[in-house]
Symmetry: C2
DNA sequence: AAAATACTTCGAGAGATATCGAAATAACTC
DNA sequence: GAGTTATTTCGATATCTCTCGAAGTATTTT
């Protein structure tokens, strides 16, 4: 039932996205990617800038990717990473929705 | 209380707040609290609604509290928990700031 | 085809988190 | 002051996450 990813995140999706951002290393990876803009960065370049090497980097990127926060596309032997802006925005909305509490309890009290 | 304080979160603070929200149980605790409004809920009531008992609940609340996401105030033997709206808002802003990337790197770089 | 580059997978050890029950504290009631 | 209620602390176990190096895969270069 989660067709509208941009609008509505389910609790479990939101939680895993938050968990993914809940590490300084990963949060700073995302930030670095955001600063890099639409072109993104290769895994190697990203690792250099964030000073995270090889397998550890792969590990973190996998988590970010699984949480839908970044996207990766392979070109030759290089993998370009970009931020999934839509998802980040949805996450921010999720917080606002919870923060601004419309006192209407019809959200999803399952 | 100053609700519209523009709190700027540091990376480490943001990361620990995200980490705190990065658990379905805790995220749902926060949601429950938000729905409860300004009055908040007692620890016991919260635990009942979220179906989390005793020590486990305390553990999660401690994490949320340490991350600045909830506040607790003792009245007699009951502890009332409320959402720290300001902090949640700041967190949402943090995401937007990172998401909408003004290409100006002077914000939170060190 | 061999070497170099870019990245991932595997396996392991250390450290952090989650969950629980039992015992402890603290406040209120009788 | 004994009992009840609300919540925390302690201790133990289970599970997850982080990090690393070594070996593996895929792709390009020579």
């Amino acid at each position: 039932m989660k067709r509208f990813e941009t609008t509505t995140l389910e609790l479990s999706e939101a939680a895993s996205a938050f968990a993914a951002l809940g590490s300084e290393q990963r949060l700073s990876l995302v930030q670095t990617l955001v600063r890099a803009g639409f072109a993104g960065l290769s895994v190697g370049e990203l690792g250099e800038r964030a000073d995270i090497g090889g397998s550890t980097l792969t590990h973190h990127l996998k988590i970010l990717s699984a949480a839908g926060l970044i996207e990766q596309s392979k070109e030759g032997r290089v993998i370009a990473c970009t931020v999934a802006y839509t998802h980040l925005e949805a996450l921010s909305n999720y917080l606002l929705r919870n923060c601004c509490a419309d006192t209407d309890d019809g959200q999803n009290n399952g």
